[in-house]
């Protein structure tokens, strides 16, 4: 194990840490092991790509955070309406730090192995808690450093030393607040719910962060458009619940000399709340450790899935297919790793058409758009189809797939068909229906036949994607093993959306052309979804 620079730096604090009654030598060893393990972990922000290399992935992801940090600069430069500007700066910073804290450091706070491995050794609880805290602080230091260094420097050179100092001190307090709030949030959830709920929450935050990364680029670019807006905030009582405002207030006080009651209360809150929550945290730490045991306890779930089996009865022709429809449904709903990889792109598909609209609205009026063929933008939904169909092969629990091979299944056709249908019902349709509603609202009910055509061509597209991608049994391969060499196929498949839109466009030029197009699509679907197509599929078993 290497001797980390961070730990060498920590050695300077040896004396004060020992004063607190912590066994420094043991703490250092624990941290060394933890940092070594972190080096071998991939942070959420990178899960979209398939990098599995040595070296601290976290440190390598820092430049991405630095990029996020740049989004703060325009708000710092904007003017001297600090309450507005700085609350946005702190809002952005808190969002990024908090989400990455939950998604990447939950494993630090919630590592249940610590109990069996560390507490059975001659190491006291205080040292274990201290090493957990220092571990989190080390990371927050890097994270905040990469997000805030450039904005801090910019503020130093444009706003002067006083601004810089207030900014710096507040960043430290914000971090304290975030550590404690996260821990208290976990404590709260563990107190009232079981570990599964907490894991779900972490999973959703991870999904949100991944989505925010994708959409973030768009928003950052657009945020520059707000720059010249002059904004006056009228303060209300509910503003007290917005921490970014607390941290914006001291700037008004120190730099603009404002001493309104609101500003002063905010300032006090900014410093007092972190202090109080730390006291609370220290007090509740033992309870937290106790409740952590719930993470390993079995939870009693209730049976569900009546809705799915009802739908399954309608859309699946035989029992075998129905079985796998239900199975795939459950896997998609429950497998966290799968959700983490797939749900962000679902979110993207949901947002993208509207981003396109947003661009259009700036040049044309909504009425103009409504009378155009711009509803074809809904085809963007199809972008997610190839990647998700590729993903259907993978699972975090891929080892369970032996059951497919030992069970007496004649041909995998029903497995594949059931899974594809589950994908359409569970993942694709919700996105599509939601968008159809919005599109229908904008373009009037007249586009309904067109939406039907889009839906039918997406069914065609699904089968085409499946047939051209590498085939394997659903959920049967490891995420780590896979995902190579399919990039090109996916690229070609994405290009295929173009002709689909083209055909639709051409058909809509002729009167009643859409209905003719629908008829053609129905026919195509009939052949593509027939058992014959699927029975011709060859599955490659790899073991």
């Amino acid at each position: 194990m290497e001797n980390f620079q961070t730990l060498k730096l920590l050695d300077y604090f040896r004396k004060p840490i020992e004063k607190l009654g912590v066994d420094y030598t043991s703490m250092r060893k624990i941290l060394q092991v933890k940092l070594t393990m972190d080096k071998r972990r991939v942070p959420t922000i990178f899960t979209q790509s398939n990098t599995k290399k040595e070296g601290n992935q976290f440190l390598k992801s820092l430049w991405l955070y630095a990029l996020f940090g740049l989004a703060n600069i325009p708000f710092i430069l904007l003017g001297d309406n600090y309450l507005f500007q700085m609350s946005i700066v702190f809002g952005i910073a808190m969002f990024i730090i908090m989400t990455s804290m939950i998604s990447d450091f939950s494993s630090v706070l919630l590592d249940v192995r610590d109990k069996t491995i560390l507490q059975t050794k001659p190491v006291d609880q205080k040292t274990i808690s201290a090493s957990k805290l220092v571990h989190v602080i080390i990371y927050l230091f890097f994270l905040t450093g990469s997000i805030m260094t450039i904005p801090l420097l910019v503020s130093l050179f444009t706003k002067g030393i006083l601004f810089f100092l207030v900014f710096l001190i507040e960043i430290i307090f914000v971090n304290l607040l975030i550590i404690v709030i996260t821990a208290l949030l976990y404590l709260f959830i563990l107190r009232f719910f079981d570990g599964e709920k907490l894991m779900d929450l972490i999973n959703y935050v991870q999904i949100m962060l991944s989505l925010a990364t994708i959409v973030g680029y768009q928003l950052v670019i657009r945020s520059f458009e707000f720059i010249n807006v002059d904004i006056h905030i009228t303060l209300n009582w509910w503003h007290f619940f917005l921490p970014p405002l607390w941290y914006a207030a001291p700037f008004e006080w120190v730099l603009n000399g404002k001493t309104d009651v609101y500003i002063m209360i905010f300032t006090v809150l900014a410093f007092l709340v972190p202090m109080i929550s730390i006291a609370l945290y220290i007090k509740l730490m033992p309870a937290f450790e106790r409740n952590l045991q719930k993470l390993t306890a079995q939870s009693t779930g209730k049976s569900s899935g009546r809705k799915e089996s009802f739908i399954g009865k309608w859309i699946c022709r035989n029992n075998e297919e129905r079985t796998f429809f239900r199975f795939a449904n459950q896997m998609m709903k429950q497998e966290r790793e799968f959700k983490l990889k797939v749900y962000p792109s679902l979110g993207l598909a949901l947002v993208l058409p509207f981003l396109l609209f947003y661009n259009e609205v700036r040049f044309r009026s909504l009425e103009e758009i409504a009378s155009s063929q711009y509803y074809l933008a809904i085809y963007i939904c199809l972008l997610i189809v190839p990647t998700i169909i590729m993903m259907l092969k993978y699972s975090g629990t891929y080892k369970g797939a032996w059951i497919f091979r030992t069970a007496p299944i004649q041909h995998p056709a029903p497995i594949l068909k059931g899974t594809l249908k589950a994908f359409l019902v569970k993942l694709f349709l919700p996105v599509f229906i939601l968008q159809s509603l919005v599109f229908g609202f904008i373009f009037s009910a007249a586009i309904i036949p067109n939406l039907v055509a889009v839906l039918l061509s997406s069914f065609v597209y699904t089968v085409l994607c499946f047939l051209s991608l590498k085939k394997a049994l659903p959920f049967s391969e490891s995420f780590k093993a896979g995902q190579q060499g399919e990039g090109f196929t996916i690229f070609v498949l994405l290009l295929l959306i173009g002709p689909l839109i083209g055909l639709h466009y051409v058909s809509s030029m002729v009167s009643f052309g859409v209905y003719f197009y629908i008829a053609v699509l129905l026919l195509a679907n009939y052949f593509l979804w027939s058992d014959r197509t699927f029975q011709r599929v060859k599955i490659r078993f790899n073991d």
Binding site: V33, R113, T116, L118, Q119, T120, K121, P122, D124
Partner: protein
């Protein structure tokens, strides 16, 4: 049993409850140097709980526990320096290599780094694991992990060993080796507290058997003593008799009849 000796471990009226459910009801137990104790009982009898309490993993018990003359409720952790522990669930930091993990654990127990390294390497060799010494634990099979856990519990030459199902996942040859190791360790004066569900093994290696049922000790003595008290022959049968379990044939018959339905 040498009663004049100081007990290594003693439990006096130890009671524990989770959410108003009594898990341990007044456990009284004295353990002496060199004993291999087979700690057995049905699932949920409180075996793991007892061990976890003694290791300070679970707090909130009532009664008095003394390990090496220290009352463990005093909050000091030094008594753990002479204890080795193999947990039931093979929990490891599996992102680490065997070498890294073993050095880490050894050093936590206060063994000097140079010494841990060579000791761990030699012990791994003995188990035939020298080739994977620098591989990540995540690539290890269940049996290999179990061997690493065993080594990690012995690196600091402990006087007292808590082993929770230490043979799980090991092949027959390794089982023989480990059984022999335990016997040798006990002969060297180490005390072994051993819990398992495999009665044949417990019967063979323990010189004292403690049977726990519903949070109470219902039998305590050597295998021969237990045989005398009970009419049954094997430890498995004694186990069934003492825990009041006689329905195994009926349950099996019912089970099979459900299987036949289809």
């Amino acid at each position: 049993m040498d009663e004049k000796q100081q007990p290594i471990l003693s439990l006096e009226d130890v009671t524990m409850s989770f959410n108003n459910k009594m898990v341990l009801r007044a456990i009284n137990l004295k353990v002496y140097k060199g004993q291999i104790i087979g700690y057995i009982g049905p699932n949920g009898a409180g075996k793991s709980t007892t061990v976890k309490i003694m290791l300070g993993l679970i707090e909130g018990y009532h009664g008095k526990i003394t390990v090496f003359d220290n009352d463990i409720s005093d909050g000091k952790v030094d008594y753990k320096k002479k204890i080795g522990y193999v947990p039931e669930t093979a929990e490891l930091y599996d992102n680490l290599t065997a070498s890294e993990y073993l050095s880490f654990v050894g050093e936590l127990y206060g063994v000097p780094p140079e010494k841990v390294e060579s000791k761990a390497r030699r012990l791994m060799e003995k188990f035939g694991l020298e080739e994977v010494y620098h591989s990540r634990l995540s690539s290890f099979s269940k049996g290999m992990r179990q061997k690493v856990l065993l080594i990690s519990s012995l690196l600091h030459n402990p006087d007292l060993l808590f082993l929770d199902e230490p043979l799980s996942g090991l092949d027959a040859n390794s089982v023989m080796v480990v059984k022999e190791i335990l016997a040798k360790l006990a002969a060297e004066g180490k005390t072994i507290f051993y819990s398992s569900h495999i009665m044949e093994v417990v019967e063979k290696i323990s010189n004292r058997i403690i049977l726990l049922s519903e949070g109470q000790i219902i039998a305590d003595g050597s295998f021969d003593e237990l045989k005398k008290q009970n009419t049954e022959g094997s430890l498995e049968q004694i186990f069934n008799q003492l825990t009041g379990f006689h329905q195994h044939q009926e349950i099996a018959a019912d089970f099979v009849s459900v299987v036949q339905e289809v």
